[in-house]
């Protein structure tokens, strides 16, 4: 049991999946309804459109990028250290799409595998 | 607020200085002359090493070519510009010197392993750098 500041210690931190691969950043957090007592973190949001609320530059960046927001329910979080470690693999959570799209192009270069 | 016009003038001068105005002031001419001197002095060092067989053929050729280009660039800048009043004679002197330095270096560039040519070029450049 630890006290943390969400903006400082969770937001913008690295996501690492169950296979120890980096798979995105904590782009935002869903706090659910603030009427709950206490409100709790419902999910981690990752993906380009989640930058929309991150200031003017974030909005601009989000409008330039495509993609979707991936919602990672807090139940799937294994631990919070410097990075946020997840209980499942990136592709199960839908976090592997960006890498997958590019992987095809890299794979045909000799020596890539 | 009184300073504003002065600042504007200063700013304009700076911009004009950067933009390479086509009229050469005494200062600008001095700068070009220093650049010619630099190419000549460096060429002399190089030619002296060629004359004593202390360098390689590719280096002598490529580097003398680069130095000749430097001198030619000065010659072009000085040729294309007008001198400020009273500086026409100085302008011609710089132009002549730049052209001669470029010629000497071109000679070395064309025969980068000829020790006799190098000796001659070295003497010429020493004279021109003085």
């Amino acid at each position: 049991m630890t006290e943390i500041d969400l903006g400082l210690s969770l937001l913008d931190h690295q996501l690492i999946d169950s296979e120890d691969l980096r798979c995105g950043k904590v782009d935002d957090l869903d706090l659910g309804s603030l009427r709950e007592d206490p409100p709790t973190v419902q999910a981690i949001l990752a993906g380009t459109p989640a930058w929309r609320n991150r200031g003017r530059i974030g909005r601009l960046a989000a409008s330039l990028g495509g993609g979707r927001i991936v919602r990672i329910p807090w139940e799937d979080v294994e631990s919070v250290e410097s990075a946020v470690h997840l209980k499942k693999a990136a592709h199960e959570l839908g976090l592997a799409r960006g890498e997958d799209r590019v992987r095809r192009f890299v794979a045909w270069i000799p020596g890539a595998k | 607020m009184r300073r504003l016009p002065g600042l504007c003038v200063a700013l304009l001068l700076v911009i004009a200085g950067c933009g390479g105005s086509s009229t050469l002031t005494g200062d600008a001419l001095q700068k070009q002359d220093e650049a010619v001197h630099s190419a000549a002095a460096e060429g002399e060092l190089l030619a002296s090493d060629v004359a004593r067989d202390r360098t390689t053929e590719p280096f002598a050729r490529v580097h003398s070519g680069d130095l000749a280009d430097q001198a030619k660039a000065v010659a072009k800048r000085v040729r294309d510009a007008d001198a400020a009043p009273g500086l026409e004679r100085e302008r011609r002197q710089v132009l002549t010197r730049a052209t001669r330095v470029a010629q000497a270096l071109e000679e070395l560039h064309a025969a980068p392993d000829d020790r006799e040519v190098a000796e001659r070029v070295q003497a010429e450049l020493r004279r021109l750098a003085a």
């Binding site: 400082l8 691969l21 890498e99 192009f105 270069i109 020596g111 | 700068k31 630099s38 090493d49």
Partner: protein
């Protein structure tokens, strides 16, 4: 015994890896223009790079935060993105300059046409980055870059007035042209502290899997290596001060630097100088390629690292390839690599505070750093250098205009 041997090898690689095209250009030009007067600036620059490399390495190893992890967490998404864009533009300019430098060095060695050699340099960097293992790249280029030590020998053989040299380490400014003097102060600090070195050092520590217990050995390697690398920078300036300053020669190409080794040492001096420049600049090109990809991956959270197979870190792989192609295209337009170098160095000083600040902040956060948190000494130097860099950053662009890029 093996341990001592390893340490020695690490130090050698660090010396060879310290100098890049920016150091060569600014140190030689400064010596030619101000003799030994600016040697003190090299000391300040080397101190800055040592302070922040040490801090970045420690932060990376203990907290697993590479530079751009820290940048995004501490500066937030918006400011962080601005820092990223700035860093990438500078990396790109630096890379372009280094690729140009490889081609120039090859041209002076072999005499083939410049553009052919540019293309060759591009292919060579791509193959090395793709095929050679991480540790190898560092070592091969570091050791071969040691041929640059010929400039130390050249400096001694030119018999400089050593009392004059010594007095150059005391700050002074006897100059009729303070703007040019100031421009060179900025440039020498910028050349010693080019940001890619810090990005590369921090990510490299994670790549090589350092553990906190390895920290002291690796750090002292870097500190000793950088100090000796700084001496190499000094010898470039002393060489130019002894040879070019009295003859009023203003260096405009890399060939002039090589000539500085040839005049006192003959053909062997020339060849060592060119080989040294080739590998120093080549190693820097490779480090810059990696740094660009590290920064992108760390900001956006992609998998990264040379220790991963390319298919395991595909976006990172594409990122370095795109960097390399863009860098190549910039020099292939025919711009003078020396001019590109000057721009990249001056602008890098402007962007540096946004790299140093987040690192300083994470290094002071006990949550991540535990007992490896910054001590008083690290903070004294860290904050001191942040202030110095801020001042230099503010002065950089105005000085560039006032001094007409050092031309006076």
């Amino acid at each position: 015994m093996k341990r001592i041997f390893d340490i020695a090898l690490g130090i050698l690689a660090a010396i060879g890896g310290f100098v890049d095209i920016g150091d060569i250009v600014f140190n030689v030009a400064a010596g030619a223009m101000f003799e030994y007067q600016l040697l003190w600036v090299v000391v300040i620059g080397v101190g800055a790079i040592i302070t922040y490399s040490e801090m970045c390495g420690r932060v990376a190893v203990v907290s697993q935060h590479a530079v751009f992890d820290a940048v995004r967490e501490r500066l937030g998404f918006g400011v962080g993105l601005v820092a990223l864009v700035g860093a990438q533009l500078i990396n790109l300019l630096t890379l372009a300059a280094e690729i140009g430098g490889i081609a120039v060095a090859l041209q002076l060695l072999a005499g083939l046409p410049y553009r052919v050699l540019l293309f060759l340099a591009f292919i060579a960097v791509a193959v090395v980055v793709w095929a050679l293992p991480f540790g190898w790249i560092e070592r091969v280029f570091g050791y071969c870059g040691l041929a640059m030590l010929v400039f130390a020998v050249a400096a001694i053989k030119l018999h400089p007035d050593w009392s004059q040299v010594a007095s150059g380490f005391i700050p002074s400014a006897n100059t009729s042209d303070p703007a040019v003097y100031g421009y060179f102060v900025v440039g020498l600090i910028g050349a010693a502290t080019v940001p890619y070195e810090v990005y590369f050092y921090s990510s490299g520590a994670i790549e090589e899997g350092w553990k906190p217990k390895d920290l002291s050995v690796n750090q002292s390697n870097a500190i000793i290596g950088y100090t000796l690398g700084g001496l190499l920078s000094c010898s470039l300036m002393i060489m130019a001060g002894a040879l070019f300053f009295p003859r009023e020669i203003t260096p405009e190409t890399l060939g002039t630097a090589a000539l500085g080794a040839q005049v006192p040492l003959g053909e062997i001096g020339l060849l060592l100088a060119l080989v040294g420049i080739l590998f120093a600049v080549g190693g820097a090109a490779i480090d810059t390629v990696f740094s660009g990809a590290y920064n992108m991956a760390q900001f956006f959270g992609w998998e990264w690292g040379k220790h991963r197979k390319p298919v395991e870190a595909p976006r990172y792989t594409i990122a370095w390839m795109v960097m390399l192609v863009l860098g190549f295209l910039i020099v292939f337009t025919g711009v003078d690599p020396i001019k590109v170098t000057e721009f990249s160095v001056i602008f890098s000083v402007v962007a540096l505070p946004l790299t140093y600040l987040p690192i300083l902040l994470v290094a002071n956060d006990r949550t991540y750093m535990r007992r490896y948190v910054n001590g008083r000494l690290a903070n004294l130097f860290g904050i001191g250098y942040l202030v110095v860099i801020l001042l230099v950053a503010v002065a950089a662009i105005p000085l560039m205009f006032l001094s007409n890029m050092g031309q006076g």
